[in-house]
């Protein structure tokens, strides 16, 4: 049986819902198809907690202004220039209207969370987190008359010369639509796809979001001739607790203690400067560092004096009265670990420890060095967290223009296909990450995609 809609939205997260609401408000009949069941709806949005938007003054929930220029500088720094300046600046300008608009859709905000004061000026935190934000958007969409179908993956797309005709849902139902919005995320949960770049190492990766972020729509679009953007081999990877579930462990499996100790691999050897820079600036390199170690596993070691200096995490640390005992519990060579800790302790030059500045506690004559916050690991009990690479999102996406219209390779803009959110984030975010920017991309381009899709469909 066939059905015809004005706008078909693939996906169910922030970008998809912003697109659906904007299109519906513009008068279109909108169908949202979400591959996940209702509980897991929303892809990575369910694990987010804030959105980075430019604003001229402090507000009830933001401690000070964050100008468009400062936002641009931050984006330029984290992407090291791998961004489309025109599109990025356009998004940043639009972001200043986002907080008001998304507030009108029922999303509520609060001051920054405990332990995230550094984001209190730039980022607006969702009251109750990302799932609360999603719940509000879904309620609004529902009230407006948007239809949402869960457990409904798109299994095929009919695209002629850059023009969307129809989508096949669940391998059976054919849906025609005048406009199509792809807001179905990246492929971070698709281990087979990750293996194309990472080989068997990907078997040992943990996926921080749901198993439904498979990138099927992205692949179908690229196969249909949509111009890709972003490094197809790269993903945002952090070191998370190795005991976390394979999928959807979310934020609570993160560990913020690298700077307080040393990190060793399965051969009980250090491999990188743990005190290179402040943790918020370095946490995103550790996923890749661990991915390059044997068996993709590493262990963060620290002692009693550091235990209470970082955010608590889900699992308790492995605890022992001596380094040798700790090695036994971790399955590491005890003599080797004692030697590594001994070498480190011997190289530590005492200074005045202060984790809030780049202090003068460092090692001398050690390779790799620890350049800040180096303190001897000598006070029992000793602790360790096992860590593995935790994949947050992938960078490969579809190229779009200011109207969120996807570009066909060697052809130009598609007539009726739009993209928003993680599936096109690579246009703006070619590498790196800044907290809350994924939600900005999703919100801003979601709204644009919805409005443009509706304009094309219903005039």
């Amino acid at each position: 049986m066939g059905e015809t809609w004005d706008v078909l939205v693939a996906g169910g997260g922030n970008a998809a819902l912003c697109a659906a609401i904007a299109a519906r408000r513009a008068g279109a009949r909108v169908l949202v198809v979400e591959a996940a069941p209702k509980f897991y709806r929303g892809g990575n949005t369910r694990h987010t907690r804030n959105m980075r938007c430019a604003h001229e003054t402090a507000t009830e929930h933001l401690t000070g202004p964050y100008t468009e220029d400062e936002f641009w500088d931050d984006l330029l720094r984290v992407t090291q220039g791998q961004t489309d300046e025109d599109l990025a600046r356009y998004m940043i300008a639009k972001s200043s209207h986002m907080l008001g608009w998304i507030g009108e859709q029922g999303v509520r905000f609060q001051p920054s969370l405990g332990g995230t004061l550094s984001l209190g000026r730039t980022n607006s935190f969702f009251l109750g987190g990302g799932r609360a934000m999603l719940n509000a958007l879904y309620l609004t969409a529902e009230k407006l008359g948007v239809e949402v179908r869960y457990d409904t993956p798109i299994t095929a797309l009919e695209i002629d010369n850059g023009r969307f005709r129809a989508a096949i849902l669940n391998g059976t139902t054919r849906i025609e639509a005048r406009s199509f919005v792809a807001a179905a995320g990246g492929f971070e949960a698709n281990l087979e796809w990750l293996k194309e770049s990472w080989g068997d190492r990907a078997e040992n990766f943990l996926i921080r979001g749901t198993p439904y972020n498979r990138g099927d729509v992205l692949r179908m679009l690229i196969d249909a001739g949509v111009e890709p953007v972003g490094d197809p081999t790269q993903c945002h990877a952090v070191a998370i607790d190795a005991r976390a579930p394979k999928f959807d462990g979310g934020i609570i499996t993160r560990l913020d203690c690298v700077v307080f100790g040393i990190v060793v691999n399965s051969e009980a050897r250090r491999f990188y400067d743990e005190g290179e820079d402040f943790w918020p600036k370095r946490y995103a390199i550790w996923g890749r560092l661990v991915a390059d170690q044997p068996d993709q596993i590493a262990y963060i070691l620290f002692d009693a004096k550091s235990l209470k200096m970082f955010m608590p995490s889900l699992y308790p640390p492995v605890t022992a009265g001596s380094i040798a005992e700790l090695a036994g519990k971790l399955g590491l060579d005890a003599a080797r670990l004692e030697a590594t800790v001994g070498d480190f302790n011997g190289a530590v030059r005492s200074g005045s420890f202060d984790h809030t500045v780049l202090d003068d506690c460092r090692t001398e004559g050690l390779n790799p060095p620890k350049t800040h916050w180096a303190r001897r690991i000598d006070e029992a009990p000793f602790y360790a967290y096992p860590v593995r690479p935790g994949i947050t999102f992938t960078y490969l996406g579809t190229r779009v223009d200011r109207h969120a219209r996807v570009r066909m390779a060697n052809v130009g803009p598609s007539e009726n296909m739009f993209a928003a959110g993680e599936i096109m984030a690579g246009n703006v975010l070619g590498r790196g990450y800044a907290a809350g920017i994924g939600m900005t991309i999703g919100g801003v381009f979601g709204r644009i995609a919805g409005e443009e899709a509706a304009r094309h469909a219903v005039g």
Binding site: Q110, G114, G130, A132, P245, I252, T253, R254
Partner: protein, 372 residues
């Protein structure tokens, strides 16, 4: 120390929540949790009694069932809360009254009513129960005022002593990690927070009860119930004062304070508990601790019975039904008083204590500039 099962599950959840913190803006529980890195039994009893069961953290949680972490804070804290009523009850041998609370309280009510009927009949002719009464002081013809005061005064005092001992036990346990002495500011703040049910609003949009739509009216019905109860209490107090200080014995005209307060309060005690009961049976079973439904239903049943019999007694005062209605009403009130320390009544005491402790902790939090 090894935690009991209900505390162990609450500790597991608080460890997860403390690593997430997305819900900290919803209510008092999560900011209080963030001030701790470890959770003992007393801490968990404190957090459980800070929780008003609005359900917002459940619908907002990315780790609630069917997620394998199975984070269900409202239900888990409801279990801990119900157990805290039992664990802090005094004297200890009466704790088992919480085990089959619905039965215990129904029995108390039945015994109360039967006692008054038997009393009236054995002190008078059986006919007094079924006569029409036109004498203005007819209540006291069935039971002398002094006897009423002695009986209810004694029951009330005993309940107060037991409640005070329960409060003491809870207070000592709950302030495990709160060294500050309670001061005027915190008492007042807690009074405001309890009086407005500040934390029963789902973080600002209303509570969740049946699904993820914030449509719940429990705060409204709880206000009717609680302020209805206070008005009834004020009615009785004003009548006692008028009796002894102003030498104005009952009955009172409709516009006199005992009548006005009692009528309004009685209506509150009828409508409020009905609203709360309907909300309870419509509630998503995931949010409820099945074990405490008896405790909840018994208590709102008693309040409803007290309100209904009071209003009926007033309406039927001059009919042959008066004797029975008086026995019913006095029976319910006596049972309510006697069972107070062993019923859900104690939730108000512990909730208030928890809010005082939270106000103390907030002050400490305010003095800390940076927690990161």
């Amino acid at each position: 120390m090894q935690l009991a099962d209900h505390h162990a599950e609450a500790e597991r959840l608080m460890t997860i929540c403390n690593a997430c913190r997305y819900c900290e803006g919803l209510c008092a529980v999560f900011p209080a949790m963030e001030m701790r890195r470890s959770f003992g039994a007393g801490d968990l009893d404190y957090l459980a009694n800070l929780c008003h069961g609005c359900g917002a953290c459940y619908v907002d949680c990315q780790f609630s069932p069917p997620h394998e972490f199975e984070v269900n804070v409202p239900r888990t804290l409801a279990t801990v809360r119900a157990r805290s009523y039992r664990d802090h009850a005094w004297p200890g041998f009466l704790r088992s009254l919480f085990d089959h609370n619905g039965l215990a309280i129904s029995l108390a009510a039945a015994l109360g009513v039967a006692g008054f009927i038997l009393g009236f009949v054995s002190w008078h002719q059986p006919a007094v129960l079924v006569e029409a009464h036109r004498d203005p002081s007819s209540f006291y013809a069935l039971m002398p005022h002094e006897a009423m005061v002695t009986l209810f005064g004694t029951a009330f005092l005993l309940a107060l002593v037991a409640l005070a001992m329960g409060f003491r036990s809870f207070w000592r346990a709950a302030r495990e990690q709160i060294p500050e002495p309670a001061g005027g500011g915190s008492l007042l703040q807690a009074l405001r927070d309890a009086g407005t049910l500040r934390y029963l609003d789902g973080g600002g949009v209303g509570c969740y009860n049946e699904d993820e739509r914030p449509t719940d009216n429990r705060r409204f019905y709880h206000h009717l119930t609680f302020y209805g109860f206070l008005l009834c209490f004020a009615a009785t107090t004003s009548a006692t004062l008028m009796h002894y200080l102003l030498d104005m014995p009952a009955p009172y005209a409709w516009y006199m304070p005992p009548k006005v307060l009692g009528t309004l309060g009685g209506l509150g005690l009828i409508v409020g508990p009905v609203g709360l009961f309907l909300a309870r049976i419509r509630r998503d079973p995931e949010l409820n601790d099945a074990d405490c439904s008896g405790i909840d239903t018994a208590f709102i049943g008693m309040l409803f019975g007290t309100g209904l019999t009071g209003i009926l007694l007033m309406l039927l005062r001059q009919t042959p039904a008066m004797g029975i209605m008086l026995a019913l009403h006095l029976g319910f009130v006596l049972a309510l008083f006697v069972t107070m320390p062993y019923s859900k009544f104690v939730h108000g005491i512990y909730r208030y204590a928890a809010l005082v402790l939270y106000a103390l902790e907030r002050r400490r939090l305010g003095s800390k500039a940076d927690r990161s």
